[in-house]
């Protein structure tokens, strides 16, 4: 492998990792607040892909992107209101089952509405622009993705660590009842959390599908699972952890494919999951889970 091919693969891996990172954050945020693995998150990401197809059919990309983000946010928040909020005081397992139900519902809805055939993902001209860096040829999306991801993660962390809303989020993540005693509206915090997670999934989907070029109703499943693994790998509940996990999985996957082991690329992701759960169940940056007294 020549040096320039190596760099090429690095860029592709980092770029894929960036898209994974944005999706992983959605898992980690929701888990942090509700202790819920939001299985529907993968399908929200898939729906964002379809939203883009329709938005680009009638609008230029500058308008289409905000429309897609907005539509995805609405979808995420509505799902929370309809499928999770009524179960706020139910056992965790019930909410999880509801999440799995929503996941299947979205997949089947998409199959019904858009058929199971792959639909071509529209080209967003500036993202596809070819860039020549010395002997390495790459598209702009490959360079934008990691930069955008890191920027969004920094913004999100500033929000969580230094804003009043972030303080409320951290409080709610530890203790619902006491947060209510502070005057915090739990449902509002949860809604905003889903809104943030969905917005990031929408951005992730634009970056991801621009490389993949087509969407099917099941396009969300595998990346969704991988991003969940990324969140666990980084330490579920931790935002920088999710980002690091996303990058690790994206880069590993790209190099496995590059070396001709594409058959194993998915398996290795789950091997990571097994290893991290055995060696360090809290993940790379996760905090020790202390039982609530």
């Amino acid at each position: 492998m020549s040096f320039s091919t190596f760099i090429q693969h690095c860029l592709t891996g980092i770029s894929l990792g960036g898209a994974y990172a944005l999706i992983s954050i959605g898992y980690t945020l929701v888990y942090g607040i509700l202790l819920l693995i939001n299985f529907a998150h993968a399908d929200i990401f898939m729906m964002a892909g379809y939203f883009m197809i329709f938005a680009m059919a009638s609008f230029p990309w500058q308008v289409a992107i905000p429309i897609v983000i907005l539509a995805t946010v609405v979808l995420g928040v509505v799902i929370e209101r309809v499928a999770y909020k009524p179960l706020r005081n139910a056992p965790r397992m019930s909410v999880m089952i509801s999440a799995i139900g929503v996941s299947y519902l979205l997949q089947n809805l998409a199959t019904y509405l858009f058929s199971a055939l792959p639909q071509g993902y529209p080209t967003i001209p500036p993202l596809k622009k070819v860039i020549q860096l010395g002997s390495v040829t790459t598209s702009l999306v490959t360079l934008i993705t990691p930069v955008l991801t890191i920027l969004l993660v920094i913004l999100l962390m500033l929000l969580v660590r230094h804003s009043k809303f972030g303080m409320a989020m951290r409080a709610v993540s530890k203790d619902f009842e006491t947060s209510q005693l502070m005057g915090i509206k739990i449902n509002r915090v949860v809604s905003y959390t889903f809104a943030i997670g969905s917005a990031l999934a929408a951005i992730g989907s634009i970056l991801y599908f621009t490389d993949r070029m087509s969407v099917t109703p099941f396009s969300g499943t595998m990346p969704g699972l991988k991003c969940f693994v990324a969140a666990v790998l980084g330490g579920i509940g931790s935002i920088p952890g999710a980002m690091i996990g996303g990058f690790i999985i994206g880069i590993t996957e790209t190099f496995l494919v590059a070396f001709g082991y594409s058959t194993y690329s998915d398996a290795v992701t789950f091997l990571f999951l097994i290893i991290i759960l055995i060696v360090r169940p809290t993940g790379l940056l996760g905090e020790e889970l202390t039982e609530k007294v």
Partner: protein, 244 residues
């Protein structure tokens, strides 16, 4: 008019009748205590007043207004503030953030800063540790933080659920002294305690709860002297706390 008037309050927990119709009053400026053994319904009473539990029947009048069935956010906004059992400080927030979150619903920044200074005056230890995570504090410091956090909401009615729970006797003494000081500045206090003798000494009036009902009431000193109270709730405790 009483600051707080509870009329025939009933609360069910699943199928269990946790409160079977209790009535009591708290006057502005008083310290009133509810005593009783575990499971008598003391915590349930406070949770129902603060809006964490919805009553099945009865009325909660506060400052002349009916606050029955309001959410916790709304009661806090009206000055009804609960220091929950077990302190429940946020372990992942710093001491300063824990105090600031107590003032979550307030927007008067200048006054929040004043109140912060006041809490720091009351508990200098918290000022020293303002950048530490709440979870790293000792039990007594956490209780101080929980009280400080409640004060940041500018309570008119401060309700405290077992502030002495799990604390060393000397620390308990401090906490009770501070409850007295807070009350002296005009805040009405409704106190729940298993440490009945300390609570009755501090409180002007008390109510004794048994399995979801109030079966005795009187001034703090009367209840302290009452033989059945002594037998049921003071017992060896009264000797242990005689030194306090």
């Amino acid at each position: 008019m009483s600051l707080l008037e509870i009329q025939d309050l009933r609360v069910n927990y699943g199928g269990i009748k946790a409160l079977k119709g209790i009535s009591f009053t708290v006057e502005e400026g008083e310290i009133v205590t509810l005593i009783g053994s575990n499971g008598a319904g003391k915590s349930t009473t406070l949770k129902a007043i603060s809006g964490l539990l919805k009553p099945a029947a009865g009325k909660i009048m506060y400052g002349g207004r009916d606050i029955t069935g309001l959410d916790a956010q709304q009661t806090v906004d009206q000055g009804v503030v609960l220091v929950p059992e077990g302190r429940k400080i946020f372990p992942n927030l710093t001491v300063l953030e824990n105090l600031k979150i107590g003032a979550y619903l307030r927007s008067d920044k200048g006054k929040i800063q004043q109140d912060l200074e006041r809490v720091y005056d009351l508990f200098p230890r918290l000022k020293e540790r303002s950048w530490q995570k709440g979870g790293t504090l000792s039990g007594g410091e956490q209780q101080m933080l929980a009280v400080g956090r409640a004060l940041m909401a500018r309570p008119r009615l401060l309700m405290m659920d077992e502030p002495s729970l799990g604390l060393a006797p000397l620390v308990v003494q401090d906490i009770f002294k501070i409850i007295g000081e807070i009350n002296a500045t005009g805040t009405t206090v409704l106190l729940i305690e298993q440490n009945a003798s300390a609570a009755l000494k501090l409180a002007r009036r008390g109510y004794v709860m048994v399995t979801g009902e109030i079966n005795l009431e009187g001034s703090g000193s009367d209840l302290l002297a009452n033989p059945s109270v002594q037998e049921a709730y003071l017992g060896s405790q009264s000797r242990r706390h005689a030194r306090l």
